[in-house]
Amino acid sequence: MKKPQLALHTTFKAACAAAALFGLAAANVAHAADADNGKVLADAHNCAACHGVNLNKPVSPEYPKLAGQHSDYVYWALRQYQMGNGNPHFGRNNAIMQAQVQSLSQSDMKDIAAYVESLSGDLVQKK
């Protein structure tokens, strides 16, 4: 009487584990930032026109160097520019950047951020 129940239980556990693994894998595929696509987007949006060659030689000292910057910070900054004046608590107010990011999806911004971090430039972490 007990055995079939146990077998069913084991089967159920295995099925759950498989489902969880599959879900995890699918989620990772869906959310992994794609630096190659980020490069395509960065070229299409002409980021280098202001941020310079390799995004490390801005044409004005008022613009930031981006190469090597943390991707999660870059992603958040892009989202803040997208919020712009519409969000008085978090938005960043910059006419050029606001116009640049309007058409980007969140996954586009993650891809661009991953591309930015993949570059190496002048940025260094020192105390």
Binding site: S60, E62, L123, V124, Q125, K126, K127
Partner: protein, 122 residues
């Protein structure tokens, strides 16, 4: 004809004056990297720790500052102070900084290279 020329002369003169006023304000404060070295105690607590993350309103690693453009850093600090850029911690810290402090701190970070030594004051 004369009226139109005169108008343009006035506009040009005003533009020159406006430009002069804007640059004069900036020219008063010159950043000094050496002086900045003694003013970054509050920065190091986050920006000096590799991979240090902030938690609100989004989890992200705080930006790398070393080697960044001086003018960009200076503007960013002023914007945090004024409230045009939003992050409570940065707003609180910059509120205590003078224009000279901001210029010095920006100069300090802008001057950093891979060969720079860690801040000897800390």
């Amino acid at each position: 004809m004369n009226k139109i020329v005169g108008k343009h002369v006035v506009i040009a003169a005003l533009s020159v004056l406006a430009g002069y006023a804007a640059s004069a304000q900036a020219a008063d404060v010159v950043g000094n990297a050496k002086a900045g070295q003694g003013k970054v105690a509050m920065c190091i607590g986050c920006h000096g720790i590799p991979e240090y993350r902030t938690a609100y309103p989004e989890v992200y690693r705080v930006p790398v500052l070393g080697g960044q453009n001086q003018a960009y850093l200076e503007n960013a600090l002023h914007e945090y102070k004024k409230g045009d850029r939003h992050f409570e911690t940065m707003h609180a810290i910059t509120a205590s900084l003078s224009d000279q402090d901001i210029a010095d701190i920006a100069a300090y970070y802008a001057a950093q290279t891979p060969a720079s030594k860690s801040n000897p004051d800390k």
